[in-house]
Symmetry: C2
Subunit: 409 residues, 2 copies
Amino acid sequence: MGIIVQKFGGTSVGTAEKILNVADRIIQEKDNGNDIVVVVSAMGKSTDQLVALAEQITAKPCKREMDMLLTTGEQVTISLLSMALKEKGYDAISFTGWQAGIKTEAAHGNARIMKINPDKIKRELTNGKVVVVAGFQGVSNDHQITTLGRGGSDTTAVALAAALHADKCDIYTDVTGVFTTDPRYVKTARKLDAISYDEMLELANLGAGVLHPRAVEFAKNYNVPLEVRSSIENERGTIIEEDTKMEQSLVVRGIAFEDQVTRVSVLGLPNELTTLSTIFSTLANHSLNVDIIIQSTTSDNKTSISFSVKTRDLEDTITILEQHKSVLNYERIESESGLSKVSIVGSGMVSNPGVAAEMFEVLAKQGVEVKMVSTSEIKVSTVISGEHMVNAVDILHSAFELSKDTTRV
Amino acid sequence: MGIIVQKFGGTSVGTAEKILNVADRIIQEKDNGNDIVVVVSAMGKSTDQLVALAEQITAKPCKREMDMLLTTGEQVTISLLSMALKEKGYDAISFTGWQAGIKTEAAHGNARIMKINPDKIKRELTNGKVVVVAGFQGVSNDHQITTLGRGGSDTTAVALAAALHADKCDIYTDVTGVFTTDPRYVKTARKLDAISYDEMLELANLGAGVLHPRAVEFAKNYNVPLEVRSSIENERGTIIEEDTKMEQSLVVRGIAFEDQVTRVSVLGLPNELTTLSTIFSTLANHSLNVDIIIQSTTSDNKTSISFSVKTRDLEDTITILEQHKSVLNYERIESESGLSKVSIVGSGMVSNPGVAAEMFEVLAKQGVEVKMVSTSEIKVSTVISGEHMVNAVDILHSAFELSKDTTRV
């Protein structure tokens, strides 16, 4: 018994029928004696439809008015879900972001939550009601409707869980949990019982559809235990918490990967202190995200910088670099597309210095050339040829024994 | 130069293209140097779609949650219209009901406006912005989202015009104004240049799609000049104001009519003081609206009561009367369907006692039997056979010279 925050994404509430099913999931936990706060997203593709409407009006919609437009999506869902709960005999009340006391900074389209006043929610919980809150939205100090940006409903759920000192925050989604790697590519991929916040953050690109990194960071900061679980299957999901007692013996917890990676090399740069910052602030100013960065200095006191970008950003990246050639003062640019990035993630790596070496060895044995490397305390990323990606993930998954369930020894 | 409140209904904002057209209409008035506040309804059939969604969830949706659901409709329109104005180079800002300071009583589905705090709107007008407000909605003192019921957006517009001391309130619609009678039935029907609030109220069933009676009452109480005009045609509409200086010579201003009327007679009632109130409070308690009422006392100290109802309410009316037979203590019930109601309306009648007589004479000459009569200071209503309705309207329209434009003598 305690307070549970449940979050259901757009797919889970895509139709009236699905909303009625979601009501059943809520009732299960309510019947267990818990106080329930539910956070929901807009129904299915309704946000896309609203965006399409705006596009018929203007190519450059004002962010304030986009927030006004898009927040209607969640407002529709909260009212319908409350009706569904009442229809099934459970008292419920819906709150928009501003009604729920979710105060954000005065930024439109991507506001951060500044403060939550949970008094109203607490009062309704005391009245025995299920409280249904619109995700993704809040209100600024001057009463403007704001949105939290991508993954906003996850963030709303975690923030409410923190403000209410909830016992846990359940993120219901269309997968059954977080896997060691993508089960669509690797048959032996296994659902993890538990994972730490940091590992979850590093596996973000595996979990992109599952849980937004910003919500994970929020959960880590406020120590909110999360569970990623299926809104369809009635089974245990993956718990994300600070101290993962389970699976301690596992050095590597998961393998993340992505294709459509391109390496860009800027050759013959002057070896100056400001070279790196000039290049990457120029790219950042044009919203171009750079991933792995490698710098190498050559004998003639020149320096070369290589970095990886998403292939779709290649053209823009080169255009920007060429526009700034006189400032950057490089000799030439080279690029290689058709690459992929494969990363092993696990907090056990910190105390296991040989893990990176083992990864390289496994890849080398299979004749996979590693073109770039980047490491963090709990991750080793490699850039390899795109054609080797799936095979590399597969052999790494076996080599690090990820398909073994070590928690049930 | 001054403040103009403009209201556009759901049909006028039914598509992105129509919203862009509405923006042009707004810009015309703005370019004339006026400060503009716009009130809009939900796009086209979007409210119906939301209601259909709710019906998939429950047969008896909770009113609070219906308000939560339906208010999203206007919120979508205000954001899109603001984007359209900005796209055309005019600064604009949208406000929901609660942002616009529209306070209502704490009743869901049919709340009355209690107070408007127009400070925020005034501030944005001073900044040179067009202010776009969601119609039909408000907020109660305890921060619940409420709706104003049918015709709510008209009421929002008139209430804002009153609170802002606007110079006028323009109701844009899909007709070009208020007509002497329905032009679909009477070819010589003529658009009125002006009409008084009271006349407009009596003509309500002609203007049902045009202007809600509640908004007219509100305008009368606060003396807000209204103009009903076309959102498509760029022509003058009909002005509704207290003192109609124009067309003074016209005794009858318009002819209203409706079919599907049924007369119900309750015969052989005890002739007691409470008989009338008992019958009609019983019907009112079951939300059955009664129109014309006639009482006649017979020689045996019994009384009979006849009243007209909409034909679709006949079955319910008889059921209720039969359920209460022991209390009402009547002998029997008779009913006659297939009737219609034809009314002549005009504030000039007050000083012209012969108008009703003239109406009866005109009808009698055409062999039209008058089955029930009801009069007010500015209206005479008759119930006649349904088959005579269109013909009766036509001859009355001629007899009272309604097709003549008396203002341009």
